[in-house]
Amino acid sequence: MNTSEHRNKQFDVDLEDIRTRVLQMGGLVERQILDSIDSFSTGSHDLISRVIDGERDVDTAEKEIDDACAHVVARRQPAASDLRLIMGVSKIVTDLERIGDEAEKIARMARQIHGRGALQIPRFVDIRHAGDLAVRQLRRALDAMARLDPLESEKLIAEDRMIDSEFRGIVRHLITYMMEDPRTISTALEIIWVAKAIERIGDHAKNVAEQVIFIVRGTDVRHVPLDAPAEPGSPG
């Protein structure tokens, strides 16, 4: 990835502006997940409303960044690393927006569960733990994007399995609950939806990391097993 200056300085300003906006959107989305998990544990109406309202800001950020990318393509005809940055950013904002959707989903589930007055939420601690893992993954993906660090991205991709296995563990436990006490079925199913949303957040963070690798190296690591040999000629 070439980060030296263009002869046309406005081009640098445009690209830097896009990168900054992506990181700001990432910060916004991170806040949404944290608030949604908190709302799930506390049932706070304020938090639930804040997450649901905040989703509009995430959507607006996605549209604005996409528009800025379209302008760069139309006005600058970017090539090589600049082209990869624009293409990568365009995909990253889609993942960030979907993370925002998952956060909203968790908040709506929290409203439903707490609205029903479920006093005991089974496996709450596990949800909190999986949620923390997902937030950590997203934060690492955004750091990798900020530093254009493919090595950190590779580590993150390898660790996505941890969230997947947390999700499977939660589902296993909830099935036991439901079998023991059928009155917990409604709540347990909603918690599975929350766990699934967290697992999806991990997947989207992984997608962001894959795009960082594409931006820096030009290699497409999507749908490729981690132990697969690197593409010939791909720079480190």
Binding site: S4, P78, A79, A80, S81, L83, P235
Partner: protein
């Protein structure tokens, strides 16, 4: 800012992975060229694939036009110029630069189209017929057929068929350039060399020439020098980046414009050069 004043360090200019559909039409081998004592090209090795468009890009003075002109021995016209190495033309494996090979013969096999349209001060018909007569054709009906074929090949026939005897200078700039392409095609060349063919044309005429190049590659091999990188990206199958007389990187156009291997190529095509 990337400073590229130092002598470039060219990568091994290996051809891309062999593709069953690719056939070599020509090949530069250890090509050097000197204007007197000045070495303008330094050890160029490069394949030219049959019925493909190969673009040469690089900053002014990098040697891309000098390289193009080696192919039709245009440098022979000036004293003190000297070639070293070979340009092999296939399938007959002729060294175009050999003193035993007649430069006129070479120019019939490799036609050239220049930056500015340069029709002869003759009629549209005679401009195209000239190349056919040079080839020795004397029968008027055969010449007429060939003129029509060449004008159709240059996507100009429909615009000029009713005024073939008009002076070529009465055509627009874009039409004049297509007339020059028709003149080049009339000699049935194997390779057409384009030296910045659209730099004097407006965007619409440029688009016509680019479309024409895409059609022409069904019949001939094309080598094009262009300052317009987007043009190279649009029309070519392979791209070579040159700097200070050396070929820095050669590869499939898609790879060069998405994932160039050499940082100097990257700096040039992203506008970070110099």
């Amino acid at each position: 800012m990337v400073t590229t004043l130092a002598r470039p360090q060219p990568q091994a200019a290996a051809a891309p992975e062999p593709d069953a559909a690719l056939t070599l039409k020509a090949e530069a081998k250890a090509l050097n060229f000197f204007y007197g004592s000045f070495r303008a090209l330094n050890n160029i090795n490069m394949p030219i694939y049959d019925k493909k468009v190969t673009a040469l890009i690089g900053p002014s003075g990098c040697g891309k036009s000098t390289y193009l002109r080696c192919f039709n021995r245009m440098h022979d016209l000036y004293p003190g110029n000297r070639y070293e190495g070979e340009i092999r033309l296939y399938p007959d494996n002729t060294n175009l630069l050999s003193a035993q090979v007649d430069a006129i013969e070479v120019r019939m096999r490799l036609s050239m189209v220049f930056q500015k349209p340069n029709p002869f001060p003759k009629s549209i018909f005679e401009n195209v017929a000239y190349g056919i007569r040079v080839r020795g054709e004397r029968k008027q009906n055969r010449i007429s057929d060939k003129v029509e074929e060449a004008l159709r090949g240059a996507a100009l026939w429909d615009e000029v068929k009713d005024r073939l005897n008009d002076l070529a200078f009465n055509l627009s700039g874009g039409q004049q350039q297509r007339l020059c392409i028709a003149r080049a095609l009339a000699a049935d060349p194997e390779i057409v060399l384009f030296d910045e063919p659209t730099s004097a044309l407006d965007p619409i005429a440029t688009a016509s020439i680019e479309e024409l190049i895409s059609q022409l590659k069904q019949r001939v091999t094309i080598l094009i020098v262009t300052h317009n990188m987007q043009q190279a990206a649009r029309v070519s199958d392979f791209t070579a980046y040159m700097y200070l007389g050396e070929m820095i990187e050669y590869g499939r156009t898609g790879d060069i414009f998405i994932k160039p291997k050499n940082p100097q190529t990257e700096a040039y095509i992203t506008g970070r050069f110099g």
